[in-house]
Symmetry: C2
Subunit: 275 residues, 2 copies
């Protein structure tokens, strides 16, 4: 596997409302064309921070590859904006399996091949998984203080994976939040990590695609500083997944899987002092 790096921001000259010139940073956005066994599959528009994990997670979340063992190599070459993925035995019926499309509404990546909703009924999240309110607050605070491209240049989404004590495992940014979640799926794969005792955070909205991807990774908790949509909520309810939206400071709205949150009323005093 390659381990490529590239500039994530660019400086541009702008004028403000009084015609005053200044220089600001904006996030990179570049095409990355994915070739699987020399066949062109898709072009992902990406920030470019984690291309190898992105491509692996994309193949995983599109259910084109079921196991990391199927992958022989992943080589990113930014000089041609391309990544070459070689599989051990090819992907059966890849043309047919990529023909049907769902263009998703989520803030980001978008295209999901057909049949995704069919799989939702087969997914099961761990019955016993629960989240303590104090861990939730630790996560929100960790995100708040995280160094990021967003703070420097704006216009990117961040996704993060946390352990059940609130320790940060991965933090990924991309111009599309679906790229960010795919890259986290790729990182989890590379680390052989299961999702059942993890917590997923996104700066973006919890649309159906985000909820389904979280479920595919086996993660029972999805947190967002933003809100949810009707279908995201419906899928989460069906899976008994805890959606926590509008997470900001001490505030949140628990939207589904409500039994999974362990309220800790002793935190109220702190909440009042620090809100």
């Amino acid at each position: 596997m390659s381990s490529s790096t590239i500039n994530l921001t660019q400086e541009i000259d702008v004028l403000d409302e009084r015609g005053r010139a200044s220089t600001i940073s904006i996030p990179a956005e570049r095409p990355l064309t994915v070739y699987v066994d020399k066949r062109e599959l898709v072009t992902l528009m990406t920030l470019g921070a984690n291309p190898e994990a992105l491509v692996l997670g994309y193949l995983r979340n599109q259910r084109l590859v079921r196991s990391l063992d199927e992958i022989e190599s992943v080589q990113v070459d930014w000089s041609v904006d391309a990544v070459a993925v070689n599989t051990r035995h090819g992907i059966a019926d890849i043309a047919a399996r990529t023909a049907k499309k769902v263009v998703t509404t989520g803030c980001g990546q978008g295209s999901v091949y057909g049949g995704l909703m069919d799989e939702v009924d087969t997914l099961v999240l761990p019955e016993q998984a629960s989240l303590r309110q104090s861990v939730l607050y630790r996560i929100v605070d960790t995100i708040r203080t995280q160094q990021s491209v967003y703070k420097q240049a704006g216009s990117v989404h961040g996704c993060a994976l946390f352990s059940d004590d609130g320790s940060l495992l991965y933090f990924i940014e991309d111009v599309g939040r679906h790229n960010a979640v795919d890259a986290i799926a790729g990182m989890m794969w590379l680390a052989g990590m299961e999702g059942g005792d993890k917590i997923f955070y996104t700066t973006g909205r919890l649309t159906s695609e985000m909820v389904i991807k979280g479920a595919q990774m086996g993660i029972p908790f999805l947190l967002s500083r933003s809100g949810t949509t009707q279908m995201g909520h419906m899928v989460a309810e069906k899976l008994d997944m805890a959606l926590l939206a509008r997470c900001s400071g001490k505030h949140f709205l628990l939207m589904s899987g409500k039994r999974r949150l362990i309220y800790e009323p002793h935190l109220f005093g702190d909440a009042l002092r620090t809100a």
Copy 2:
């Protein structure tokens, strides 16, 4: 053409950080499967506010249909979450033309068939089009006071089209901002409207796909309350399109096509009083 309506929001029960129950509205998100001449093309995840215009604009912005004359009928049927588009003479090579994909980073729709960037070089925006600062402020204020699903339920993006005196022509919301821009393209088509003297506003980021879609509609001005990306900026520079980001109150950042904005220094006094 059908003229379908459907609920745009749903009420759900939530718990806040102190376990207090309340009811909030969230935006609808539903699949709309597009059949062209009885062939399944794509499933769009949408709020559902403007399905006919959305589908027309999608076909237009994907460059699958070049003229409204090619369309015989558009019939939305929410009972099966489907829209049947009939063309007069079929779409030549539709299978080949939809095989290559670009999965975009924009906050929203996402999938754009290949070759999009090739077309950028062929686009030309009106040389003389300019925007007065006072018109810009009228537009920002109109958006601020607009009734919207966003104000009621959050988690949607809005796009709007304005005339060159700042009058609102169309305001469209969707769970994906790319749906919203496609729906505006559809409305413009239905009205036989050109983009050369129009101004486009989006609540979302000005990524490459948004900039390219704006250019395809022939619109020289793109406004956003959010920011831009490197490729969005690059494409706009190439096309001499004015990008105005971070529009909020009297503030904005003019990022490209700078000659097109007519500064009006006499507004400064007002700006100081009302900021």
